[in-house]
Symmetry: C2
């Protein structure tokens, strides 16, 4: 764990990298305590402030946690899915919004990934997953539901579908793709007719899952993708017409 003393700037980044590499390489194991800030400062021959900035960088990535008081210090964090989820979603959201990713591209990716889960979910979904999906479908049919709540329910529905595959790695990857889409989905105003169509397709998906029919789930997902894309196209065209006309 060494840094280059000749590079004058960005010492805290170098120190963070050194410690991060040690964690990734397994030199520092989970729950192991790092030396105290004062000791690290001495080891790297920098001030305590610089060490602290490095530790904050690592804390921002959930790689370490800190405890105050005697026998406190910085400890290597066991990175769990629940810690990584928010980060993944924030990053995905920003990637979409800052890079002008089209609705079409994001939507295509999302449904392609969901279709990847379909056969697994059809084989393994528990009654619990199915019950969640049925409940969300019911919620989506409630009159007076706001567009935002409708989108929330939509996310919950698809999340249950993905979780049904029983593969945490898939669930993690999909969380980013599905939840990051939400701001884009919120652009769409869901009329009563379009809600009914979406609910019809959701029901088809749930039915197919209940019957353990993976390819039927895939077909329904494809139909849902096509329909969602057409809704988005309508919104865009309407906006373009309003801009041109007014």
């Amino acid at each position: 764990m060494k840094i280059d003393p000749n590079s004058p700037a960005d010492l805290s980044a170098q120190i963070a990298k050194a410690i991060r590499d040690a964690i990734v390489a397994g030199v520092l194991i989970v729950d192991e305590r790092l030396p105290s800030e004062a000791e690290l400062a001495e080891q790297f021959d920098v001030s305590r402030s610089t060490v602290r900035e490095a530790l904050k960088r690592l804390a921002a990535q959930s790689l370490i946690r800190t405890q105050r008081g005697a026998s406190g210090g910085a400890f290597v964090n066991r990175l769990e899915y629940k810690d990584a989820y928010p980060q993944q979603i924030t990053t995905s959201t920003l990637l979409l919004s800052m890079n002008a990713v089209s609705f079409e591209t994001a939507c295509e990716a999302r449904y392609a990934l969901e279709r990847a889960c379909a056969p697994l979910s059809a084989a393994r979904r528990t009654p619990d997953h199915l019950a969640t999906m049925r409940a969300e479908i019911h919620r989506q049919g409630q009159p007076g539901l706001s567009d935002e709540s409708f989108c929330d329910s939509d996310v919950a529905f698809h999340r249950a579908l993905v979780d049904g595959a029983g593969n945490p790695v898939l669930s993690y990857q999909l969380a980013g793709a599905v939840e990051a889409m939400q701001p884009l989905m919120n652009m769409i105003t869901f009329t009563a007719r379009s809600r009914a169509e979406i609910i019809r397709l959701h029901t088809a998906i749930a039915d197919a899952l209940e019957a353990h029919d993976g390819s039927a789930v895939e077909s329904a997902l494809s139909a849902l993708e096509t329909y969602t894309q057409s809704l988005a196209r309508d919104v865009m065209e309407t906006r373009a017409r309003v801009r041109a006309g007014g």
Copy 2:
């Protein structure tokens, strides 16, 4: 952008969260300059050190960049895929290694996601993608190639497959899944015979892509998954036998 002055500890985390929220919400736009550290310190009524720790947290997430000198400062970063890739890979790698995700689970997720790209890649792959894949297949057949280099080439091959889909969102999501698998893949010793079989399947994939035959790509990927899983099972069994016998 406010913080709770009553919470005594973790001021830097609160400040980081306030700024992060402002960026995600679009209050701070790309390339906009944040106030100087001194000004932020005054606004939040904390010391400059605390502000700096908050900024380092944001820098660790690539949300801001800093420039020194006059007219320098902290600027909202345009989060691009190339910045998000390493983070995604590091996180995925640690999630796998720290949560004892089985080879089976990781492998299943990886190939499920790759199959999701197959139809798109079959439709859109350019001659460039195909050329990259053929080149990697050739490299994989070179005698004297180390296991590590073989794995590297494997990653490059699959990456070309995924990129062929022409969807940056998919490429980003897949990068984590594919590259994070590498440490697990490196456990496997590839014999001459297993390399030949893998090359055979890679060739089948490339041929199917060349013919724009999406379902053939999916089939070949499934066969490759089955074969990889069987190789991993052999390694595990051998190890278990050695442990029991010795």
